[in-house]
Amino acid sequence: MADPDRPPAKDTPPDAGGAPATAPAEAPAVPVVAERGAPPPPTGLLGFLVRHQAIVVPILAVVLAFAIGAILIRAQGFNPTYAYQRLFQRSFLTEGGLLATLQKTTPLILVGLAVAIPLKVGLFNIGGQGQLMAGGIGAAWIAHSLRDLPVPVLVIVSVIAGLLFGAMWASIAALLKTTRGVHEVISTIMLNSIAVGLIDWLINGGPLADTSQVFPTTHAVREDARLLPLGVLPWGLPVALILAVLVAWMLKRTTLGFELQTVGRNRFAAGYAGISTTKATIIAMATSGALAGLAGTLELLQIEPYRYQSGIAGSLGFDGITIALLARGNPLGTIPAAILVGAMRAGAPSLQFELGIRPEVVDVLLAITLLMVSLPVIAKWIFRRHTAKQTQLAGSWGA
């Protein structure tokens, strides 16, 4: 959000900019605000496309990105059609591949939400990585130390531990921000490194280490408490989907969502309306931390080897930023974004296996997709003056 403290910049003229021509008294309430700046909405197919541009633009952008990707693959001397075919055949049409896709989608949705929620409050959470790790280690600790509990209870308390640990880790950044004014970008970057170090100690001969293993790891989750997939469906996926819907609903329909967004859009007006910026900051960060923590917990409970070991977080924390940006900060948008990324990642090894293309090609493809989805010119080029305005995400930096 723009810092409302500073005088308005010219691109967002406060008085003049937005104001429609006020009608003279004789003709009250004439000019239609919705018309302002936009010609009457077209009808027919174009009209349909314009009305659904929030969906149409990303789809076109993805197609365009893959077309560009095809050129790159061709330049490497491979057949792009075949490559894409292998990639998606693997990730959607084989049982193992589909399972992998969905297993990767699950945490991606959650970490995407962990970035998207703070964006609504004007905070940039680079700390998903640390929060995910904190959640994962918390769950691993509880899952082992309370292993004698009945299985369903054990799973539930482990999940709760994961949520709490993630929330706690994120709350450190929130508290540093609200009480000491430490910019969340610094604190979350530092906290990521701190989480890595602390957890390395815990599992590398420290109190949580499984010393029967030669390598640093926690104890494995007991076998009957593992969330084995139901066919190709990992347990966590419905949970993540429900949470994405819940977050969207919370932001849109609840009073809490209104509070969070008010702080994000104009924290001075929020103060005027008696909405606490401190509370919003802490709630947003803690919720994000909990979601990232849940991602870590699910990686522990539903993915082989059901242990917390160093690779568990992978690059998920940073993937969360990609997902949230692909989704343009929209909680529901994290779902298709996560599926796309999940499928590309799940299919990458088979690209190498079948064609010999290095797996990094998938990252490059992903970057082009993000670029295409986000470049305003693409929408402008298709829809011209009917283009809907995009919200600026980077504005959260200055606060």
Binding site: G96, G311, F353
Partner: protein, 328 residues
């Protein structure tokens, strides 16, 4: 880049062959989170695989980007009925055993994976190396060569292999020179612990400034950074030396030539090749296979190292091999 993958996967045979046929012996390799050209164990293991290339052998590898893909990547090979699969790195240990249990006819070779008799499967062979012995030999050499009685070791993340190298290095150097002091640093844990060459260089620089004259770089790219820094310093090769790790780094880290006296080597290539040969002729046994460790050739330094030092070191290596000297 792409070409590496290109040539390797289609390397021995233009068209993929049917691995289920008895005429073709198919070998697959799954890398640890790291790349096939890492100048270290992934690369060495792959070289060990390639040594078997020839008539009736097909080889292929998959690079793992996310450690949670280990099972899926192994499955790519088992689905294609590969005859033998090499998995690199201790992190893949459990995934390897699980896959082996599901595919009892496939011979698995787990590099750096210690097999616990209670948990392992009969078709898994762990290729393990006594890193401590290699570290001991390197330390012993360093202890004999140092003029300042100060030496250093720059490590990647603190994991069992690096711990063993460090332990051996410290003990070996003390055995050769009781007055010696060893500066030891691990990289902070994290995804870049083995690729942070500038950090390794910085550590080496500081150790040199504080009087160390021999530095052992033991941690992938991070350690290579340390080697490069010693090589750049004035006095490299005359008063300052460095020791490489895992493979003969004379071959893989040319920028270290000015100082690289030797490398504490795990004979990964030989070990892999040996086990694969056994797998091919059916003589392979489950359990653990102790690979050889030692010091690689002295290359250009052969003439500069006093003969008595060489004999003492050779002596120690022999004792380590026959078990008469144990690294506590």
């Amino acid at each position: 880049g792409g070409s590496t993958g290109d040539t390797s996967s289609d390397g021995s045979s233009a068209a993929p062959k049917d691995c289920s046929s008895a005429d073709v012996f198919c070998i697959g390799l799954v890398t640890d989170k790291g790349t096939i050209d890492d100048k270290s164990f992934n690369q060495a293991a792959w070289e060990g695989v390639k040594a078997l290339e020839g008539e009736g052998v097909q080889t292929k590898y998959i690079e793992t980007k996310d450690s949670k893909d280990y099972p899926a990547n192994i499955k790519q090979f088992t689905d294609q009925k590969y005859d033998s699969i090499v998995t690199v790195g201790f992190l893949m240990g459990e995934a390897t055993v699980t896959a082996a249990k599901a595919n009892p006819t496939v011979k698995f070779i787990g590099v750096d994976q210690f097999q616990d008799a209670a948990k392992t499967a009969p078709n898994v062979t762990g290729l393990i190396f006594p890193e401590a012995n290699a570290g001991y030999a390197a330390g012993y050499l360093a202890g004999l060569m140092t003029k300042t009685s100060k030496i250093g070791i720059v490590l990647g993340e603190e994991i069992p292999p690096t711990q063993m190298y460090a332990k051996g290095y410290e003990l070996g150097s003390k055995a050769a020179n009781p007055k010696i002091s060893v500066a030891k640093v691990y990289h902070p844990a994290g995804p870049n612990a083995f690729s942070d060459s500038p950090w390794g260089a910085g550590e080496a620089k500081k150790m040199l400034a504080q009087g160390a004259d021999i530095i052992f770089g033991a941690g992938g790219g991070t350690g290579n950074g340390a080697l490069g820094e010693v090589a750049k310093s004035s006095g490299a090769g005359t008063s300052l030396f460095c020791i490489g790790v895992d493979v003969d780094q004379w071959e893989t880290v040319p920028e270290a030539h000015p100082c690289l006296v030797t490398s504490a080597e795990k004979k990964l290539v030989d070990g892999t090749t040996e086990l694969l040969k056994q797998a091919k002729d059916g003589s392979i046994k489950g359990g653990n296979f102790l690979g050889k460790t030692g010091l690689s050739e002295y290359h250009d330094f052969d003439s500069k190292i006093p003969a008595d030092v060489k004999t003492k070191v050779e002596d120690v290596i022999k004792k380590l091999e026959d078990g008469s000297l144990k690294v506590a």
